[in-house]
């Protein structure tokens, strides 16, 4: 009952943010497209058709064809799966790592904290994209490697957030009371502090999905991300760049897809931030 109540009051605040609602609708649309890619695609995304090369958007091919005669709409539908997969898996990895490091640093403090936070500073001082480029140079650029590399290079923000939450929560009376009652460190971390520190992590995870999708697109565009023939929005854009003077649709549609996806996740993230803010919540009632 408490759970339903809080969902309800959460939604009341969230829906005041009109753009965030729009973002949520877009996110759900992209999800639906990714899930139903085999159903909505009129062609096999990898079907080469030498008779219909670089055809403009029209009746046979909704968003036109590429330089091998493949249907752009079908390739983009399948490409959205890649984007979402990369986005969520990468964020999953970075959130787990960030939460573990942040929790250890915030809870134990002292040397643990200093070592972890200096490591975070070091990681932050390296431009993420170049770090990823450097790593990809040594390993095979497969979709799994991309996810892992993005995840391993984007956990620092989460670690800082979680550390800050832990620092303030560990002094709170309910945590002190639990300790006085004999609860151990693990129980205090996982039962008492962690559940109360999730709101900002949740927001940052949603924003992180957008960032990860953008990085994946950029890597695929540069040819070191998802490898052809597997379709991804980024590598469709590469073909668009090669044919930009004769086939505008190869650049415009994946570009719009990336833009809208990133925008909608950012809008959702901001809506969540407002809706999860306890100060706004108490104001309501």
């Amino acid at each position: 009952m408490h759970f339903l109540n809080s969902i309800n009051s959460f939604w009341l605040i969230y829906k005041r943010h009109k753009l965030a609602v729009l973002g949520l609708i877009l996110v759900m649309l992209f999800f639906a497209a990714a899930l139903s890619a085999p159903l909505i695609s009129p062609y096999d995304p990898n079907d080469i058709d030498s008779g219909h090369i670089l055809e403009p958007p029209g009746r046979g091919h909704l968003l036109g064809t590429d330089d091998l005669g493949r249907d752009v709409f079908s390739r983009m539908a399948y490409g959205s799966r890649i984007s979402l997969e990369v986005g969520f898996v990468a964020v999953g990895i970075s959130t787990v790592i960030g939460m573990i490091f942040g929790a250890l640093a915030g809870y134990y403090g002292g040397w643990t904290d200093r070592v972890i936070m200096r490591f975070v500073d070091i990681m932050l001082s390296i431009p993420t994209f170049f770090l990823i480029l450097a790593v990809i140079a040594f390993i095979e650029p497969s979709i799994w490697n991309i996810m892992i590399v993005i995840g391993l290079t984007s956990w620092m923000g989460v670690a800082r957030l979680v550390r800050a939450e832990f620092l303030s929560l560990k002094e709170r009376e309910f945590v002190l009371a639990a300790r006085a009652l004999g609860a151990g460190d693990m129980r205090i971390i996982f039962r008492h502090i962690m559940p109360n520190s999730l709101s900002p992590v949740f927001v940052s995870a949603v924003l992180g999905v957008a960032a990860a999708i953008l990085v994946e697109s950029a890597l695929s565009f540069l040819g070191i991300g998802v490898q052809p023939p597997t379709p991804s929005w980024g590598n469709i854009l590469t073909l668009g760049k090669d044919n930009i003077e004769i086939a505008w649709w190869l650049s415009v549609f994946p570009g719009i897809a990336i833009l809208l996806t990133v925008l909608s996740y950012n809008l959702v993230g901001e809506g969540l931030r407002d809706a999860l803010d306890p100060r706004l919540r108490h104001g309501r009632k």
């Binding site: 009376e173 004999g182 039962r191």
Partner: protein, 314 residues
């Protein structure tokens, strides 16, 4: 026998630039079984730090704490958790003392599970039992802290503390966040528990009337030190230390003929990072004289059972 013995307890916090805050600076007292010991003082005098030190939620800088003759300060691991079962704390803000994401059953039951007091299947029954003791409706078992009133929340906190069957409860401003009528209810509850199960209390408060009603003996703290300690009746009738006199004169009294002259202290409480020389109270003391600003007064027994640190009683 002494249930709790605190000897020369000190807690210094180190600030940037080699500044040291002497939050608790040599506190000594003891408390026997069944006794309610009041600790009063203004905000920032170190009362709450003493509470946290007694429960070992903070590590003391020096000094020792004995509970039932066992050294709390040196205890670690199993030894510590077995001592802690005898010692519990109730905080000022009952909402902040309850995990907002845990329901009543989990909050109160946690101590039972962690300390393996009852088997998992009996937790619910025992929780209901505890709630009944403190007067909270058992039907609320699955509700969350924000769904209760302040008084109910404090009762829940008390039930949670009682779960481990403690001998001593440290009540750190346990009444201060509550309405006056609720304060009375909670105080009666604490009184009942004391009569029924022989609990002892370390009752920390800035509310002198509550302390007078509740405690057998009282200690007055000023800037991290106990300046006066004696039986409640003695202390309230014949305060020895000028600071105690000033505190007592500030208590509102309902009858005009009981109102004495209000002693208004000059200035503010000095920062605990910058404690005055000699007697720490001397810059504000209306009765200061020659030795006060240079010599720290000893804490000594001025009359039978009454201890004070003041040159007037040297």
């Amino acid at each position: 026998m002494e249930l709790l013995k605190v000897e020369g307890l000190k807690k210094y916090f180190h600030l940037r630039g080699n500044r040291v805050v002497k939050a608790v600076d040599g506190v000594t007292f003891s408390l026997s079984a069944g006794e309610a010991f009041g600790l009063v003082g203004e905000s920032g005098c170190g009362k709450s730090t003493v509470a946290k030190l007694v429960l070992k939620l903070l590590e003391p800088t020096s000094g020792r704490i004995f509970f039932k003759g066992r050294d709390v300060t040196a205890a670690r691991g199993k030894e510590l958790s077995s001592i802690r079962k005898g010692l519990q704390i109730i905080f000022q803000d009952p909402l902040a003392s309850l995990n907002p994401r845990m329901n009543l059953l989990d909050s109160v039951g946690e101590a039972l599970i962690v300390n393996r007091i009852v088997s998992k299947s009996d937790v619910k029954e025992r929780v209901l039992n505890l709630l009944q003791k403190v007067g909270v409706d058992g039907e609320a078992l699955y509700r969350y802290p924000h769904e209760f009133s302040g008084g109910q929340r404090q009762r829940i906190c008390i039930a949670r503390a009682l779960a481990v069957e403690p001998r001593l409860i440290v009540a750190d401003e346990a009444l201060s966040a509550l309405d006056v009528s609720i304060q009375a209810q909670i105080m009666n509850l604490l009184d009942e528990l004391r009569k029924d199960s022989g609990l002892s209390y370390l009752f920390i408060s800035h509310n002198l009337l509550a302390v007078e009603h509740f405690s057998d003996r009282v200690a007055v703290m000023y800037l991290g030190k106990i300046v006066e300690m004696s039986g409640t009746n003695t202390l309230f009738k014949e305060p020895l230390h000028p600071y105690t006199e000033a505190l007592l004169s500030a208590v509102p009294k309902p009858w005009a003929d009981e109102r004495g002259k209000r002693i208004v202290l000059e200035g503010d409480v000095p920062s605990p990072a910058d404690i005055p020389s000699g007697c720490p109270f001397h810059p504000r003391c209306p009765k200061r004289f020659a030795p006060c600003d240079t010599i720290v007064p000893e804490f000594r027994e001025a009359k039978e059972g009454s201890f004070v640190s003041c040159h007037l009683w040297g």
